[in-house]
């Protein structure tokens, strides 16, 4: 049994992976709404809307889980992060509110009028800003630029998140979400080859941009996030992890290029998870680099035990429910890991699922 505080931190990281893959794809889809171009722009927007409508609220809850675990298991860390990064967190929240509200306003407003188009704009722009802010927050806690004394922030309100490195991480996060979204959307559009090609091209472009941002972040990390850089390149686990991440990235790219869309999706998800696991492992033992260690900030054992117990019991309800949700709206292909012949016939609302009500 690993120590309770480490387990709680691992759960938090797992929830963050959940948010990045599922919630992230919803934000990334908003980016493609913003960038919808060409003869099928309207169809692209429609597909995006239909893909995320029934699931975005559930996907959003992963973020709530991250926050709740943070303030329950590591209360002083929550206080420190929310103080030092008050501004980017606030901007992110405004983005979250505008994204959610404008999405549902657009979906329920009448189709072709200008009010609806305006909400669509708000949806697309807030979907873009929110991931950038999330990235700057992650950079802020990773860089060591936050300085605390007796729980008081001494490093100002801008330094730790408004700079070249945090903005590079923000850009990386945005491109990562857009990349995952494009790949998910290739699977969603299996029955419309033109549209699928649109998203395939977008996915390939995003993959290239992602590589560029990854390189930029890695170069800047040497100066701006020494802890991460050090751990990420020196630890015993670093090379297997780096190689696995690289294999997943190249595999996903190849899958996308060769139109093995399911395989590409599986590998892209693995890639996101590995990136975050690598980041999380190199943060250890810190929650805020140099200042807040997870073992110092941990709540008493009784709190951690009860919380982890509640999470374990809760996940017995959560995972079957999530399975049910995706099974209903994404069909059998929701869980297909690789491309198998005939899988396309079992899409959402496809032949195996006749409407039960007339």
């Amino acid at each position: 049994m690993p120590p309770l505080d480490l387990t709680a931190a691992a759960v938090m990281l797992a929830a963050l992976v959940g948010y990045a893959v599922l919630g992230g794809a919803d934000f990334g889809a908003g980016v493609w709404d913003l960038l919808a171009r060409g003869p099928r722009a309207a169809r692209q927007r429609e597909v995006i809307e239909q893909a995320i409508a029934p699931i975005w609220e559930a996907n959003h809850v992963w973020l709530i889980l991250v926050v709740v675990v943070l303030f329950t298991a590591f209360p002083p860390a929550f206080g420190a992060i929310m103080t030092a990064l008050h501004i980017p967190v606030t901007i992110m929240l405004v983005g979250i509110v505008l994204r959610g509200a404008s999405f549902v306003f657009r979906a329920y407003d009448s189709r072709e009028d200008h009010v609806q188009q305006r909400w669509g704009r708000v949806f697309a722009i807030s979907s873009t800003i929110t991931p950038i802010m999330l990235g700057t927050i992650i950079a802020g806690i990773s860089s060591g630029d936050i300085e605390l004394e007796d729980g008081y922030v001494m490093s100002g309100w801008f330094n730790s998140w408004l700079g070249v490195f945090p903005l590079a991480v923000g850009g990386f996060t945005l491109v990562l979400f857009a990349y995952v979204a494009a790949i998910f959307l290739t699977v969603e559009t299996f029955d419309e080859p033109d549209l699928q090609e649109d998203f395939r091209r977008r996915g390939l472009l995003a993959a290239i941009a992602l590589g560029a941002f990854a390189l930029l972040v890695a170069l800047l990390a040497g100066d701006h996030a020494p802890q991460i850089r050090e751990e990420l390149f020196r630890s015993w686990w670093s090379w297997p992890l780096q190689i696995a991440t690289g294999v997943a990235a190249i595999g996903a790219l190849a899958g996308l290029y060769l139109r093995h869309f399911f395989l590409a999706r599986t590998l892209a998800v693995a890639q996101v998870a590995l990136i975050l696991v690598g980041w999380g492992a190199s943060m250890s033992p810190y929650l805020v680099v140099d200042d807040v260690r997870y073992d110092d900030a941990a709540a008493p054992d009784i709190t951690l035990k009860l919380m982890l117990g509640a999470l374990a019991v809760g996940s017995l309800i959560l995972f079957p429910s999530l399975y049910y949700l995706y099974r209903i709206f994404k069909g059998r292909q929701a869980f297909a890991l690789i491309d198998l012949p005939g899988i396309d016939d079992a899409g959402p609302g496809g032949a195996d699922e006749p409407p039960t009500r007339t």
Partner: protein, 448 residues
């Protein structure tokens, strides 16, 4: 404006905004599953149409509730990091459980709203029940955490820090029962009266509409039941507060001097400087009777509380009068409606009653806001009752007026947009009358 005041206003505004959407999110699923259940039993398509129309409105309101709730969970740290740093380990338990309840709610709401054509009838109905149950539970968990702030439990205070903590004892603190009961009933009460009022207005515009009659029938049934039991739950709350939070009781009753056989002051404007209440109506011994169920009991007045620990008396007293006044008004209208129904065995359509109901439409939510003002302002100057003062919890971040203004503008815009959208989508008859309803299935049917 001081940062403390800005932070308190931002919290109050965020909570006041969210609570309306949260209440609707708790109560609407019940109305929907009742209507859908009646459709399943009777086969009357009107009930199905009604459930679907309500589902449309709920989708909009739930989304705004979900995102504004997210804001609140972050604001705990953005505005009160020292409170969360101190108490996170103690009150994290109900928040963790709330996380799962909210997850379940969001998942099955997705199934409910978009799954009309994708799951079986019973599965769909069960999904609706799961939304109703998990929504209610998530409200209960959040209020449990708030109850702990009023009635802290589950720790020993050693040098200003919590030791020997017991999160279960914190979660099941003594105030948890009466607060969750009162708030849960309030959510159903406020929402069902608002729904009944809207459909009454529509029924007057479309006389004889079976659709609106059925809607009023369902909403008013829930409304009458909750309106009648809410004063009982209020009595439980008041007696608890009298025993455990005497400063809050004294403030909400504007009770200045400790006395046996204390009189109840109804209405009036309290003035803390002169320690008097102008224009109030005094009912002899009534306060002792209400607070302790004994006309001669002693009721602690504000004179027993150091002035530095007084909540703002005028705000708390007036908010309390509003809440109780509305509570009794809704109960009266509810009983009137029940009598009319009992005489005619039909949804009451007496014009006076209809007008009364329409006027009551927004009042339930006014009472919810007033009730939260009583609880939150009545706890001041404490954020954790008698343990931590609100100013001690405040963030060190300066210029809090900036986020205050930002969120205020944002929420005003969202309120206008939501009201406009509900008006267009739910009140005005939708053009494609409940055919596919939501847009999801359309695409696949077009191309499959």
């Amino acid at each position: 404006m001081s940062d403390l005041l800005a932070a308190r206003l931002q919290m109050a505004m965020s909570l006041g905004f969210h609570i309306i959407f949260a209440s609707v999110g708790i109560a609407m699923p019940l109305l929907m599953v009742i209507s859908e259940g009646l459709w399943l039993r009777t086969g009357d398509e009107t009930y199905l149409k009604l459930a679907r129309r309500w589902a449309k409105g709920t989708a909009i309101l739930f989304a705004v509730g979900a995102v504004s709730g997210t804001v609140l969970s972050f604001e705990l740290g953005l505005l009160w990091p020292r409170f969360m740093g101190w108490a996170g380990g103690l009150i994290g338990m109900p928040f963790s459980l709330e996380g799962f309840a909210f997850f379940t709610e969001a998942i099955f709401l997705g199934v409910y709203l978009y799954g009309w054509d994708r799951v079986g009838r019973i599965a769909h109905w069960v999904a609706g029940w799961l939304v109703a149950i998990s929504g209610t539970l998530s409200g209960i968990f959040v209020v449990m955490a708030n109850a702990w702030m009023n009635q802290p439990a589950g720790f020993d205070l050693v040098d200003g820090q919590p030791e020997n903590i017991d999160p279960m004892a914190a979660m099941f603190n003594d105030a948890a029962f009466h607060q969750t009961l009162h708030m849960t009933i309030a959510a159903f009460l406020a929402t069902s009266f608002a729904v009944a009022a809207i459909h009454t207005a529509l029924l007057r515009r479309h006389p004889g509409s079976a659709f609106h009659r059925k809607a009023i029938g369902i909403a008013l049934t829930v409304g009458v039941i909750t309106a009648v039991i809410q004063p009982i739950s209020g009595d439980i709350s008041a007696r608890f507060v009298a025993e455990n939070q005497p400063a809050k009781l004294a403030a909400l009753e504007a009770h200045w001097e400790t006395a046996e056989g204390a009189a109840l002051t109804i209405g009036g404007i309290p003035d803390a400087d002169s320690r008097t209440t102008r224009f109030g109506i005094q009912i002899p011994r009534a306060l002792s009777l209400l607070a302790h169920h004994d006309p001669n009991a002693e009721v602690t007045g504000l004179d027993q509380i150091p002035e530095g620990e007084w909540p703002p008396v005028a705000i708390v007293h007036i908010a309390f009068q509003i809440m109780v006044g509305i509570g009794f008004l809704l109960m009266g209208v509810g009983i009137w409606g029940a009598l009319l129904y009992w005489r005619r065995r039909a949804v009451p359509e007496h014009p006076w009653f209809q007008w009364a109901l329409m006027l009551c439409g927004p009042l339930g939510f006014v009472a919810v806001e007033a009730g939260w003002t009583v609880t939150e302002v009545g706890r001041q100057p404490w954020i954790i009752f008698q343990v931590m003062r609100t100013e001690e919890a405040l963030t060190q971040v300066p210029n809090l007026i900036v986020p205050l203004i930002s969120f205020t503008v944002l929420y005003i815009l969202l309120s206008i947009a939501t009201a406009w959208l509900l008006y267009r989508q739910v009140v005005i008859e939708p053009r494609e009358e409940e055919t596919g309803g939501e847009f999801l299935p359309r695409r696949r049917h077009a191309t499959a």
